[in-house]
């Protein structure tokens, strides 16, 4: 067991009484049990099949501060660039894990857009009904988060409501605590026939190492619609394990887009449980990373009921000595006849030192289904490159144009034009090109 694990176990005794929800016996017991499981399991190593390609050692070795203080000196000007400009949004901003009411715009009018802390302390019925019901006990990082999670976003959209503007959730880390370990948690409940768009990002503003173990539980009731965008463009000091678990009921549609452009190590555990007929699960993403960066997408779609659709499209572009991992598991249970599952992972290596491990994993127990999957790893096509250059487009721009063309279809599902434009800008910057041709 690493030192971090031991630090966590001993900190829990001190932290426990001060955590939100400590008056709720159900929550208290849940935390204790989760910590017990973590104590037994510890952090995964590369000997675990699910962590074979991603080594956590370089992240776990730091001496992290676990009980974090917020920082009052952060102003709107410091975080503005991480929010969408020219667009009115609800905002939930957390500094070192603590909710910042002066940087946020929450609401309780037609829907609850507030904090997980408030839910823990004020809505025992909601907590009893939803907490821990999507994210399964027994997964190390989920257990650890369940034990410690103190705050985060709480979104509840009541039946037949469409949230009038997107919700931005921003988790900021500063140097206030030095090297810090954060564990926040979202609870997103979209009731019957309700609709909402959520953007989320984690950002380390400081110079010290940070490590975030994050859990997001999502519940989509019948015919609910959710677009959930994760923008990952953090500093080289920041590592993130994102555990997102989505429970879907009949006729619901959930899209999770993950756009990974930065961070030291990012692991996305994205899990869909398709538990009602005609549910649609969409997950897509673009990864563009360079020297010293690792992004690992581990996805699961668990088809439990008939007539469901899942679509998975991940594009990866790897520069320098970066490392990408894609592990896409599609599980079709015996009952889930007429499932239509699509999965595609395409990667381009723009450097000899870049590396990608890609693994589709299909487990199908029903006999009347349509499941397709494919993965590719390649370089840019030399013929195409010559074709563009022979038309006067310089080599660098031609490479950028081809790379952009390769990746851009993973942005098509985005419903917020400002976000699409913003991401196009990031891509252009990452590839060092002018994207006029595409806009």
């Amino acid at each position: 067991m690493t030192d971090l694990a031991q630090d966590l176990l001993s900190s829990f005794v001190i932290a426990e009484a001060g955590l939100n929800g400590s008056k709720n016996l159900g929550v208290v017991n849940m935390r204790k049990e989760a910590l017990d499981r973590f104590e037994t399991a510890g952090f995964p190593t590369t000997r675990d099949e699910e962590w074979k390609y991603t080594n956590l050692k370089p992240v776990l070795k730091h001496d992290y501060k676990i009980m974090l203080k917020s920082e009052s000196a952060v102003s709107f000007g410091d975080i503005k660039q991480y929010l969408l400009s020219n667009l009115d949004t609800y905002k939930l901003v957390f500094i070192n894990g603590k909710y910042s009411s002066w940087l946020s715009e929450s609401t309780h009018q037609s829907y609850d857009i507030c904090t997980f802390a408030a839910a823990l302390n004020k809505y025992p019925d909601v907590i009893a009904k939803y907490l821990g019901k999507a994210a399964p006990a027994g997964e190390t990082f989920v257990d650890l988060n369940t034990a410690f999670a103190d705050d985060g976003a709480y979104i509840r959209v009541k039946a037949n409501q469409t949230v009038d503007k997107p919700i931005e959730i921003l988790y900021i880390t500063t140097d206030e605590n030095g090297t810090s370990f954060s564990q926040n948690r979202n609870l997103i409940i979209v009731e019957q026939n309700a609709e909402v768009q959520v953007l989320e990002r984690h950002q380390n503003l400081g110079t010290a190492e940070s490590f975030t173990n994050f859990v997001s539980e999502v519940f989509a009731a019948p015919d609910a619609r959710l677009n959930y965008y994760k923008v990952q463009n953090d500093s080289d000091k920041a590592s993130l394990v994102d555990n997102t678990h989505v429970n879907q009921e009949t006729g619901s549609l959930v899209h999770v887009g993950t756009y990974s452009f930065g961070g030291k190590l990012v692991r996305n555990n994205l899990n869909f449980y398709s538990g009602g007929e005609h549910a649609e699960s969409h997950m897509d993403g673009i990864t563009i990373i360079g020297d010293g960066q690792t992004v690992d997408h581990h996805t699961l779609v668990d088809h439990q009921e008939p007539h469901c659709y899942s679509r998975e499209l991940y594009k990866g572009i790897y520069l320098g000595n970066s490392h990408g991992v894609f592990n896409g598991k599609v599980l079709v249970r015996q009952k889930a006849q007429k499932t239509n599952a699509f999965q595609q992972n395409d990667n381009i290596l723009l450097s000899d030192k870049a590396k990608v491990d890609t693994k589709p994993q299909l487990e199908i127990f029903a006999d009347d289904v349509r499941c397709s999957h494919g993965c590719t790893v390649g370089q840019l096509d030399k013929n195409a490159l010559f074709y563009l250059r022979s038309r006067g487009i310089p080599k660098f721009e031609a490479q950028g144009l081809m790379t952009y063309a390769f990746a851009s279809d993973a942005l098509e599902y985005i419903k917020i034009p400002q976000l699409q434009k913003r991401l196009n800008g990031v891509i252009a910057e990452k590839l060092g090109i002018n994207l006029e041709f595409a806009l």
């Binding site: 074709y387 022979s390 721009e397």
Partner: protein, 249 residues
């Protein structure tokens, strides 16, 4: 305009061009014919700057400049255009965005200002009409799902937009039915002027019925073994390539 002198080139260890001499002046149309494997496409690729070929000897002078030292994009900026035998499909880039980028990068390469959007649009309208292309072409992904004829027409559309000094048409007639051939040839003829030149590379004489050459050269085993006027093409059509091969054993 272009003077090719004793050009030798190989791919990997295999010599393909063994001393080509060719001079093309403004206003002229030259045709290069020859049997399969004679080096026709290699010659067009070497002029356009494809890096798979290694030039082992000789020179190419284009308007007083040594072409062999230039990158493919720089050659395009100087006014060289190659119509590909097999145009490449590029999903995700529309024809109009591609041609806009090509024109403005070429202008930038020559130190000129980008073309005004209005002028660009008018020009696209004019050139699509010239090639009897539906405007919906412009918003399709470049060559993706295009038929063979559509791809070739799209090549000539790009040529019309870029207005090169020297256009090299590499087997532009292959894969075209007779109507498409007429449209493509008509497009090329309309673009001809006293200031530009065309090099037609073809296996068959068919295209030369529509684009009439001033000179015809026969390429065999990496050398030009015979030159003449348009009648040479007719002779080749009638007699085949065997007599050329026999003469050059």
């Amino acid at each position: 305009m272009i003077r090719i002198n004793d050009l030798q080139a190989r791919v990997e260890e295999k010599e393909i061009l063994s001393g080509i001499n060719l001079e093309i002046n403004p206003g002229e149309v030259h045709a290069i014919m020859g049997p399969n494997g004679s080096g026709k496409s290699t010659l067009s690729s070497v002029i356009a700057g494809r890096e798979d070929y290694e030039v082992t000897g000789g020179t190419i002078d284009f308007e007083g400049e040594d072409l062999l030292n230039l990158d493919p994009e720089e050659r395009a900026h100087k006014g060289i255009f190659l119509s590909f035998q097999y145009p490449v499909e590029i999903p995700g880039v529309t024809v109009s965005n591609f041609i806009k980028t090509a024109i403005n990068e070429s202008r930038k390469g020559r130190g000129e200002e980008p073309m005004e959007a209005r002028e660009m649009l008018a020009k696209m309208r004019e050139k699509t009409a010239l090639l009897e292309m539906d405007k919906s072409y412009l918003s399709r992904s470049l060559n993706e799902g295009f038929s063979g004829g559509e791809k070739k027409r799209n090549e000539i559309f790009q040529m019309a937009m870029l207005e090169p000094k020297l256009a090299i048409l590499d087997e532009t007639d292959s894969g075209l039915d007779i109507d498409a051939l007429r449209i493509v040839a008509n497009g090329v003829n309309k673009l001809r002027s006293e200031d530009n030149a065309v090099l037609v590379i073809t296996h068959y004489q068919r295209l030369l019925d529509y684009i009439e050459p001033d000179f015809v050269h026969v390429l065999y085993n990496g050398k030009i073994v015979k030159s003449g006027d348009k009648n040479l093409a007719l002779e080749l059509e009638a007699k085949g390539y065997d007599w050329i091969k026999e003469e050059n054993v």
